[in-house]
C-alpha cells in the first residue's frame, strides 16, 4: 500500500528551480531514506509533503490526501521532527509532551497513555519533571521523536534528525526508528550520513532538485556499480589517488580515511589475469610504501553516490 505518492512535484522560487519534477512512491511501514547534498532540495520537498509549502506544479498524496488541495488533512496524519529538536528548554519533559500532545488534540487518559509511551521510548521514564534544557543531546533527540509521534501519525518525517549527535546516540536513535516502523508507521528520513542510509528499506537520491537514483541499498549498489571495486590501503593516499585517476582502467577514485576506493571500468573475476595486471600497475604507483594492501570489496553506498554525482559533473 502506498503511503506517499509523489507525482511530478516541482517548486520554483522565482527563476530558481528548487525541486524539479520529481516522482516517487513510499510504501506503508517503510523506512524511506531521502538523500542529497545541502541545497539539493531536500527541505523544500519535506515542507511540501508536510503541507506547509505549496508546490508550483505537480502534486503528492500523503496518506491519501493531496498536499495541494487538502494540506490541513495532511497535517493531521503526519508527525515531524527536525534536527533543531523544537522542544521548549524552559519546560519540563512532561510539560513539553503535554503541549505537543495537546496541539494534536490529545487529552485525558489517551494523552496520559501516550505520554507514558513517549517517556518509555525516549528512555526518560520517571524523569518527566526534569527541565528539558538540562537533558543531553541524545535524550533531547529521542524525546523530540517521542513528541513527534505521540499522536500516532501514519507517517513521520524526520529532517536530518541525527545532526550533531554522537555515534552511540545515533545508533540508539536508529533502533528507535526501527521500533516505530515495526508499529506500522512509515518513516521518511533525510540524512547526510550514508552509513545511516544503509538502515533504510529504500532510498532516493536527489541532486540539484532532480531525482537521480532510487531503490534499496542493495539494488543501488548492483545497479550503479557493475564493475569491481578495489580497496587500496596505503600511507600516501592523496598522491596515489592522483596517479590512479589518470589510468585507463579506473572509472572513479575516492579517498576513505587511510584507504582508497577504486572503481574499475569492468567487472573482473577474482583471479583473472587482467585483474592481476591492474594490481601490479597499482603496486608500481604506490612504489616502496609499506603495508600496501589491495583487496576486492563490496561497494558501499558512498561509492555509489560519489560515482553517481561525479558522473553528473
Amino acid at each position: 500500500m502506498k503511503s506517499i505518492e509523489v507525482k511530478n512535484l516541482t517548486k520554483k522560487f522565482g527563476d530558481f528551480i528548487s525541486v524539479n519534477d520529481i516522482s516517487f512512491d513510499v510504501y506503508k511501514g517503510e523506512i524511506f531514506g531521502f538523500l542529497g547534498a545541502n541545497g539539493a532540495g531536500k527541505s523544500t520537498t519535506i515542507k511540501m509533503l508536510c503541507g506547509i509549502l505549496e508546490p508550483t506544479s505537480g502534486d503528492a498524496l500523503v496518506s491519501g490526501f493531496s498536499i495541494d488541495k487538502d494540506p490541513e488533512s495532511v497535517k493531521k496524519n503526519i508527525g515531524y521532527m527536525s534536527q533543531k529538536f523544537s522542544l521548549y528548554g524552559d519546560l519540563t519533559v512532561n510539560e513539553n509532551l503535554n503541549f505537543f500532545g495537546g496541539i494534536y488534540g490529545l487529552e485525558g487518559s489517551i494523552l496520559e497513555k501516550r505520554k507514558d509511551w513517549a517517556l518509555k521510548i525516549s528512555g526518560l521514564e520517571n524523569k518527566g519533571n526534569i527541565l528539558t534544557s538540562t537533558l543531553s543531546v541524545g535524550f533531547k533527540q529521542r524525546l523530540a521523536l517521542g513528541a513527534a509521534v505521540m499522536h500516532e501519525p501514519k507517517i513521520v518525517f524526520l529532517d536530518e534528525p541525527t545532526g550533531g549527535v554522537d555515534p552511540v546516540s545515533r545508533r540508539k536513535f536508529w533502533d528507535l526508528i526501527h521500533e516505530i516502523s515495526d508499529k506500522g508507521m512509515t518513516v521518511f528520513v533525510t540524512t547526510h550520513y550514508l552509513d545511516e542510509a544503509e538502515f533504510c528499506n529504500r532510498i532516493i537520491l536527489i541532486n540539484a532538485g532532480k531525482l537521480i537514483a532510487s531503490g534499496s541499498p542493495a539494488e543501488l549498489k548492483e545497479e550503479f556499480i557493475e564493475s569491481t571495486v578495489l580497496e587500496i590501503v596505503c600511507d600516501d593516499t592523496i598522491a596515489v589517488t592522483e596517479l590512479l585517476s589518470d589510468e585507463d582502467y579506473s572509472q572513479n577514485v575516492s579517498v576513505f580515511g587511510n584507504s582508497i576506493h577504486l572503481i574499475l571500468k569492468k567487472k573482473y573475476s577474482e583471479n583473472s589475469e587482467e585483474l592481476d595486471v591492474i594490481k601490479r600497475s597499482i603496486s608500481e604507483k604506490t612504489g616502496r610504501q609499506d603495508n600496501v594492501k589491495i583487496n576486492i570489496i563490496l561497494p558501499s553506498l558512498e561509492d555509489v553516490f560519489l560515482n553517481l554525482l561525479e558522473k553528473r559533473e
Binding site: E54, Y88, D90, G105
Partner: protein
Amino acid sequence: MFTRIISISVKEFRQIFRDKRSLLIIFLLPVSLLALFGYAISIDVENIKLGVFDKDNSETSRKYLSSLDASSYFTITEHIRKDNDVNELLNNGKIYAAIVIPDNFEKEIQSDKNVKIQYIVDGVDASTAGIVQNYLLAATFQFNGKIVAEELSRKGLKSVSPLNAEMQFWYNKDLDSTLFFIPGLIAMILIIITVILTSISLVREKEFSTIEQIRISPVTSLQLILGKITPYLILSLIIAASILLMGGILFGVEVKGSYMDLFIGTVCYLLATLSMGVFISTIAESQQVAFQISQLISQLPTIILSGFIFPIESMPYFIQLLSNITPSKYFIIILRNILIKGTDLAVFIDQIYFLLIFAAIFIFISAIRIKREQMT
C-alpha cells in the same frame, strides 16, 4: 479545537511563571511606573516664588503684596533692594517672577491716577508662565475692586458689581491634574507591557524555531493567536487591577462608574493592544527588533497623540485624524468617563466598538501573515 488553544495557553502560562525574575518585573514595573509618573506629571501651580521690589513701601503697597502672599499660589521669598538684583535672582532661578512697585504708588492711587505695576515673569515654560500670568491678573483685579470700593465709600457712594461669575467644577472638583493624568498613565503602562510581552513571546518561538513544530501541526494560525493572547490577557487584567489599587492608595483614584463597565472597557483595550503585539511579531525576526518596534509603536503615540497630556481638540486637523491610530485614545476616554465622571457604558459605547474593530483588524491581518509565512 479548544484543546489546541488551551494547550498553547497552558504552555505559555507555564513559561511565564517559570521565569520568576521576569514575573516580578512584570508586576513591579507597572506599579512603580505609576508612582513615578503620577508624582512627576502635574501641571498644578503652587507656591510660585516671588521677588518683590517695593520702591514705595507704603501701607497700600504692603497690603497689595500681602494679598498675594496669602494665596497658596504664591510665596514671597525675596525682598529686592536694587534693580540689578531682579536680573540676578531671575537668572539664578531663585524666583519665578518679580514684582516692581513704583515709588509713588500710594500717592498716585489716592490722586486717582492710573498706576503701573511691573511684573517680570520667567517665560521659559510657556504653560506655567501662562498660569502665573492668569493668577497675577486675577489677584490684581481683585485688589483693584477693593480700592475702588473703598474710594467710592469714602465719597459716600456704594460700589456695584452687576455680574458675578460663580464657578463650580464638576467631576474633578479640586482641578487636580494628577487625577486627570491617571487614565492616560494606566493606558500607557498597559499598552507598553502587553505589546512588548506578546510580540517577544511569539518572536522567541521563531528564534528557537519551535514555531516550526506548531506550523506543521494541525493548529491554525487563528488558534495559535488566541492561544497566545489568552494568558497575557489574564495577566494584564491582574496588572490593571493592581495599578488601579495603587492609584487609589497613592492618588485617591476611585471608580465612580460601574466595575462591570470598567472590566468590559479594559478587556476590549487589552484585546486591541495584544493583537498589536501579535502583529509586530509577524514583522520582526528577532526579540530585540520586536522590543524596539513595540516600544516605539506603543509608547510614542500614547504620549503624543492619545490626549493623555495634550488635548486632541487643540491639535491641527491632520494630527487629530492621525490620533485615531492609537487605541489608547479611546481607552483614555473610557477611563475618564468611568473613573472621573462616573458615566455609564452608553456614553462611551462608540469607543468600545472602535477597540473591538481595532483588535479584529489586527488579528485578521496577523492570521493571514502567519499563514503566508508558512507558505514560503
